[in-house]
């Protein structure tokens, strides 16, 4: 589904990703872990198409297509979703209106019929129920005045509604209490299916107690320095990143 090879990217002239390889097959959940500044968020943003990141080498294929040539909205239309670490507040933009615009933009681009107000509301209620969310969230402006946890839950709600093929969660678990963490996990688990994939970018092992990953990768200095099963996350939790970074440095040398 996603095939990243030798990806290099810079921000303001500084190279953050230094030849990254990542292979994600349909149905898989990958966790990407690593210390601060290792390039985790950069990877997420480059894949979603944020401006300000310069790709200087390598490639990323999404279902065989060159992902990096696509506009951010085209990536979304083809099934890529990024849950933001810091979701934007959009004053005056009603959450329901926003969700409907997003959903129908994708359907229109894929030549599917757009949902009318009634079917859309039905779908929303259904998704809210799955995630045990309150519908007061829908009447408010997007993320305005939301607590940190509410913003993250809103991201997961968007993900549930848009049903992406590949969801990338950029530190969605950071700063969450246990209830909010469960909602995030529920959202991810509800999305899991043989033809959908998830990338969990995270600093901590905690989320992985609720969402069991198929693969765990450790990112350091802009490269994946180690990959393994879910046990790797537990090992990291015990030994800290210093252990891996030391190894990474040795490999580089």
């Amino acid at each position: 589904m996603l095939s990243v090879k030798g990806l290099k990217a810079s921000v303001e002239g500084r190279e953050i990703l230094q030849g990254l390889d990542l292979e994600i097959r349909p149905g898989e959940v990958h966790a990407i872990m690593g210390p601060n500044g290792s390039g985790k968020s950069t990877l997420a943003h480059v894949l979603a198409g944020r401006e300000g990141y310069e790709v200087t080498g390598g490639q990323a294929l999404f279902d065989g297509n060159d992902l990096l040539q696509l506009e951010p909205e085209e990536r979304a239309h083809r099934g890529l979703f990024l849950a933001f670490q810091y979701p934007m507040e959009l004053p005056g933009v009603n959450n329901t209106y926003f969700l409907k615009a997003a959903l129908n933009a994708g359907r229109k681009a894929r030549a599917e019929p757009e949902l009318d107000a009634v079917s859309f509301m039905r779908l929303m209620r259904e998704k809210l129920k799955v995630l045990h969310l309150d519908d007061s969230l829908l009447k408010r402006a997007v993320n305005v005045g939301f607590s940190g946890g509410e913003k993250k839950r809103n991201e997961i709600f968007q993900m549930a509604l848009l049903e992406p093929k590949l969801a990338i969660l950029d530190e969605t678990d950071s700063g969450l209490d246990i209830d909010a963490l469960r909602i995030v996990a529920d959202g991810v688990n509800a999305l899991r299916s043989p033809d959908r994939s998830v990338v969990l970018v995270t600093h901590y092992q905690r989320l992985l107690d609720y969402v069991e990953p198929d693969h765990v990768h450790v990112l350091a200095n802009g490269r994946i320095v180690r990959s393994g099963g879910k046990d790797l996350a537990l090992e990291l939790e015990k030994k800290g990143y210093g252990w891996i970074e030391g190894k990474g440095a040795k490999v580089a040398a």
Binding site: R50, E71, P91, G92, A101, G106, Q158
Partner: protein
């Protein structure tokens, strides 16, 4: 440009009242007011850009334009003509003025409770002038703006709304100020008076608009007095012709514990100037004044705000937002004055502007003049573009860039629009704003291509 027309043009033709009324014996107090106004206008002349209030707004085009005198016989409008300009679904008592003239045949005023007087200023001046004595020109006279003096000199008609003590009008009262084109550019200088006596409550909607896109000028003045405990919601929506000049002066005086909630929207006209003047006359009065302005190509919009806290323990909250695009220009000048005795004043002024193109321009000047020491005052001004991060957020959800821009622009405007009541008015205004912002993305795109 050596023979600048500004030096040879005067306001003389603005001072001419209606030839019919000039001869028809008005009350002596009004004759005096008119004479004083004429003297003042002649003495003061046309303001230049050296005057602080006109630094960023040129009067050249307006002063160089010749306007015809008003002509009552030219008005032949039927109810059917105004049908298309009504707000769908708005249930309101309605007054219609055409080119500044009160039109009883188009107005719908049945069902108003006792103790409400709504009518034509002209008619009241002719039949019951004593009611207006001491009220008309009380707020806009001495110390008023030059254009208010012009209005005083030449005013002929307008609407009067008076609510007796404790009278409540549940249904909004809507004033439709309709402009029609004629053979020549026309000047209308309507004068309006609103008085809510102690404890009275009402919602007043004013709309300034035209049929077609004629060139004309509206120079209106509204004097508004809230007595003790009176509550007024006041929504003003200006969607004049794209070729029109629009001047409006609102003079608001608030007695003890009165509450004013006002929204002023400047969406239309080629050139517009809005002066909002608030005076607190009693303690514990509250004023919530919000506004939204749009300016695109060949549009200038100018808002001047003057809030005067002369007495203690009053609150004023002013929030104005502007969206300027294409080659549009906006001016915002917000002044809050807190006198030495006005202790425990709570005054908040904010002005936020969104510039959508490189050629768009805004001049904003908030001023807090505080002479009391125990006050809570703040002001904030921002001028910026649409947050690129917010655009990316929307695009990452599949929303195309042009639509993302539009959604964020409308969201910015909605923070003001959402305060409009009742719902049909809010929806009407949302559509008007949305329609005008349709070109926004295009103009931005065009600019980027160049």
């Amino acid at each position: 440009m050596i023979n600048s027309p500004a030096t040879s043009v005067t306001w003389e033709h603005w001072l001419d009242g209606d030839p019919d009324t000039a001869s028809g014996g008005e009350p002596p107090w009004l004759e005096t007011q008119r004479r004083d106004a004429i003297v003042r206008v002649r003495r003061q002349g046309i303001p230049t850009s050296r005057e602080e209030g006109w630094r960023y707004t040129s009067l050249k085009a307006l002063a160089g334009q010749r306007f015809a005198r008003r002509d009552r016989t030219a008005i032949g409008v039927s109810s059917r003509d105004i049908e298309p300009v009504l707000v769908p679904g708005l249930d309101a008592h309605r007054v219609v003025l055409v080119n500044g003239i009160f039109m009883p045949s188009l107005s719908v005023l049945d069902g108003l409770p006792d103790g409400v007087r709504v009518g034509s200023l002209r008619e009241m001046l002719d039949s019951t002038p004593d009611i207006l004595a001491g009220r008309l020109n009380r707020l806009a006279g001495a110390g008023g703006r030059l254009f208010s003096a012009l209005n005083t000199a030449a005013m002929d008609d307008g609407f009067v709304l008076m609510l007796d003590r404790a009278v409540e009008v549940a249904c909004p009262i809507e004033i439709v100020h309709l402009a029609l084109g004629g053979d020549e550019p026309r000047l209308a200088q309507p004068r309006h008076l609103v008085v809510l006596e102690d404890g009275a409550r009402a919602t007043l909607i004013e709309r300034y608009l035209s049929i077609g896109e004629p060139l004309y000028c509206t120079n209106s003045v509204l004097e508004l007095t809230l007595e003790r405990n009176a509550v007024l919601e006041h929504h003003r929506v200006q969607t004049e012709s794209p070729n029109a000049f629009h001047l409006t002066g609102l003079y608001l005086s608030q007695a003890q514990s009165s509450h004013y909630v006002g929204h002023t929207l400047g969406l239309g006209a080629a050139w517009s100037r809005t002066d909002l003047m608030v005076r607190f006359a009693g303690q514990h009065a509250e004023c919530d004044l919000k506004g939204l302005y749009l300016a695109g190509d060949r549009q200038l919009v100018d808002f001047h705000l003057d809030v005067d806290h002369q007495v203690p323990r009053c609150a004023s909250r002013e929030a104005f937002k502007g969206i300027v695009y294409g080659k549009g220009r906006a001016v915002f000048d917000g002044r809050i004055h807190v006198a030495r005795d006005a202790q425990q004043t709570d005054a908040q002024l904010s002005n936020k502007n969104l510039l959508l193109s490189r050629a768009a321009e805004v001049d904003t000047k908030p001023q807090l003049e505080i002479f009391a020491d125990d006050v809570k005052c703040s002001h904030g001004t921002t001028v910026g573009e649409i947050d690129p991060q917010a655009i990316f957020y929307l695009r990452s959800r599949g929303i195309p860039e042009a639509k993302a821009r539009r959604m964020l622009c409308l969201g910015f405007a909605h923070e003001i629009i959402d305060g409009l009541r009742p719902k049909p008015l809010r929806e009407y205004v949302a559509k008007e704003v949305s329609r005008r912002l349709d070109d926004v993305a295009l103009s931005h795109e065009a600019e980027r291509r160049n």
